[in-house]
């Protein structure tokens, strides 16, 4: 009896020692953990594996993803056709950049924890216990993919690895594992000054005035950037950073809209089309989208006109029915302008542009939304010599202003 008690006590002591050792080991792991190529704010460091598995479970139960994931996660012929289409893999030739390999990282967790075959047969059916290191590998891998969807065009099974990348990122997002330049931008938009570049309303209005003066100086025309015009047909909204870094584009847009006779306005309560939620979180996608829709509602406009090359237009067109508290007709500014050219409301003199001009299809606007012709109509009207670049249309590689651009900036910011 005496001996048994002693043994028990010894066991308890041993267990405690082991636990202490484990804690020290974990603490070292936590301290050592280095996130790849981008800084992360307040990452969740504890129970990452169980949080990941639970979050994936919640996504698998979500009405909008449930059957779609059932389909995508159970379909893949492992043929690597996607690899040949992926500009990333073609550049690096690294295993982690194979689109199907990346999707399998998510599949293996799904199989292991959410399928009977995976629970019973494990690795035989491609299921794997999720390890801390797998999460690190996924962070890197899911953020190397630009979500451009080029691979989907050539998948014989119709699987879109970009959507699996997005789901993977959303799951990681629940662990706060998202690039800092996304999270800083979105928190500025939702909790800070109200836009990704933290430009206060007064400075924004000054910028609009300044751009009007610039146009006058450059062309001699009085072109207006109308503001807060209630009841206008269009609410025009562009990425706020474009007012600073792409001012020429916005001056051109204002001229095109005015000369085409558009009834448009800019809202000064919310003036940023960017929605980086698209790249890592449904909740943030929805919150930012609703800020935009609320501005359109405030100004009682009929339609929303988005002045950028893809992701912002995609968010509103694709997610408004799902998340939006208000509904509007949505157009990209290129669609509007092309129509104005076709209808003869906007006349452009092509002889002014004598150079050879081409057009790089952005993946979101092209593959993602099917806007292929409108930009070509505009360029052909505005330049004498239009030539197609290759690859083009649905085979375009990620354009600098698409997600690839975000990633480029992401990379640069951490280097």
């Amino acid at each position: 009896m005496q001996q048994t008690t002693e043994r028990k006590e010894k066991n308890i002591e041993n267990n405690k020692n082991n636990q202490r050792k484990e804690q020290v080991k974990n603490a070292t792991v936590v301290q050592k953990r280095q996130y790849p190529f981008f800084a992360i704010e307040n990452p969740v460091e504890e129970n990452r594996v169980s949080v990941f598995v639970k979050t994936l479970g919640a996504v698998l139960k979500d009405e909008k993803y449930k059957l779609l994931l059932d389909l995508y996660l159970n379909t893949c012929a492992s043929c690597n056709s996607c690899a040949d289409q992926c500009h990333l893999y073609q550049t690096t030739h690294e295993q982690k950049d194979l689109p199907a390999y990346r999707s399998n990282q998510l599949r293996s967790v799904y199989k292991r924890y959410y399928t009977t075959s995976g629970k019973l047969l494990g690795r035989l059916v491609g299921a794997r216990d999720l390890q801390e290191s797998d999460i690190d590998a996924m962070i890197e891998s899911f953020y190397r993919c630009t979500m451009c969807r080029r691979c989907a065009v050539e998948c014989p099974m119709g699987v879109d690895n970009a959507l699996l990348t997005r789901i993977g990122r959303c799951v990681l997002g629940e662990l706060n594992l998202a690039p800092k330049n996304f999270t800083i931008s979105t928190s500025q938009q939702l909790e800070g000054i109200g836009n990704t570049s933290a430009i206060p309303k007064g400075a924004f209005i000054d910028t609009l005035d300044f751009l009007q003066d610039e146009i006058k100086d450059m062309t001699g025309y009085n072109v207006e950037f109308p503001r807060d015009k209630a009841g206008a047909e269009y609410l025009f909204i562009a990425p706020v950073s474009d007012y600073i870094v792409e001012a020429d584009t916005l001056m051109g847009t204002a001229m095109a809209l005015q000369f085409a006779g558009a009834d448009w306005t800019i809202g000064t309560e919310y003036y940023d089309a960017i929605n980086y939620g698209l790249f890592y979180s449904d909740k943030i996608t929805s919150d930012i989208l609703n800020k935009l829709l609320a501005e359109a509602q405030r100004l009682k406009v009929k339609k929303i006109l988005i002045g950028e090359c893809g992701h912002a237009t995609k968010v509103v067109k694709l997610f408004m029915d799902l998340f939006g508290k208000h509904k509007f007709e949505v157009q990209n500014v290129m669609e509007y302008t092309a129509k104005a050219v076709e209808q003869g409301r906007l006349k452009i003199n092509p002889t002014v542009n004598k150079d050879i001009v081409t057009y790089h299809d952005p993946c979101n606007l092209g593959r993602g939304l099917g806007v292929f012709e409108a930009p070509r109509t505009i360029v052909r009207a505005a330049a004498k010599h239009f030539v197609e670049m290759f690859p083009n249309r649905e085979r375009t590689t990620a354009a600098a202003a698409g997600e690839a651009g975000l990633r480029c900036r992401t990379c640069m910011s951490s280097e």
Binding site: N74, S78, D84, G126, P156, G158, G370
Partner: protein
């Protein structure tokens, strides 16, 4: 007839066909109910049924995406599927009263050679190895073993085709008769039955699921 012959020849065939049909039916039913909440179309897309059917037929008949992107796998995969089609064709004509032995031999040989070739590609090419799970090799092994047993059966056991035909007709018309006693035949049948039970739960189900990935996701046009 021993117990194994009884099970493999008379009981499990019905069980396998039932599991196969019911599982596929349930999957299809589930996917058909998929709500269009998330818009995730891919452009350009064939908008009309004729275009969609054309695209599908081209993809199914020629494996055009794999042809463009992975020629060596395409050669193996395409001929492999032709082999399966030949065997299916042979089976239908056989039950109807014809016996084109050469067709069966070609089909079975393909079922050995091509899976072996694909196995090599998967195992030796680093890029392919990285995305191939043990299951992929296992699926290929199943086909290879059916091919090998089939060839061994027609070469060495040489069972009477009339008995085999009567057996199949009996099974199809729900008037089962004693199965041929050849161990090769029973092994082949057993593996095929196993495959039918296991198929709806494997990724080989892609022949069904690809319809939905295209029609219910990529080609679901939301711009109109």
């Amino acid at each position: 007839m021993n117990i194994i012959g009884f099970l493999i020849g008379l009981v499990i065939p019905y069980l396998a066909v039932t599991v196969f049909a019911v599982s596929i039916f349930l999957r299809i039913k589930r996917w058909l109910m998929m709500p269009h909440l998330l818009k995730w179309s891919l452009y350009p897309m064939p908008l009309h049924y004729t275009g969609q059917i054309g695209y599908m037929l081209k993809e199914i008949l020629s494996f055009k995406s794999v042809f463009r992107n992975n020629r060596s796998l395409w050669a193996g995969g395409w001929i492999f599927h032709i082999g399966m089609a030949l065997i299916a064709f042979w089976f239908v004509t056989f039950v109807l009263g014809f016996h084109t032995g050469i067709l069966l031999r070609i089909g079975l040989s393909i079922l050995i050679i091509m899976p072996a070739y694909i196995t090599l590609i998967r195992a030796l090419n680093t890029k392919m190895r990285a995305i191939s799970s043990p299951l992929e090799y296992f699926n290929l092994l199943i086909f290879m073993s059916i091919g090998i047993l089939g060839i061994l059966m027609i070469t060495y056991a040489k069972p009477d085709p009339t008995i085999i035909r009567q057996y199949f007709i009996g099974m199809i018309s729900l008037h089962p008769v004693r199965p041929p006693a050849s161990p090769f035949f029973l092994s082949m049948l057993g593996i095929t039955e196993f495959f039918m039970i296991y198929f709806p739960n494997s990724r080989t189900l892609h022949m069904v699921s690809k319809y939905f990935t295209f029609h219910k996701v990529s080609w679901e046009d939301h711009s109109a």
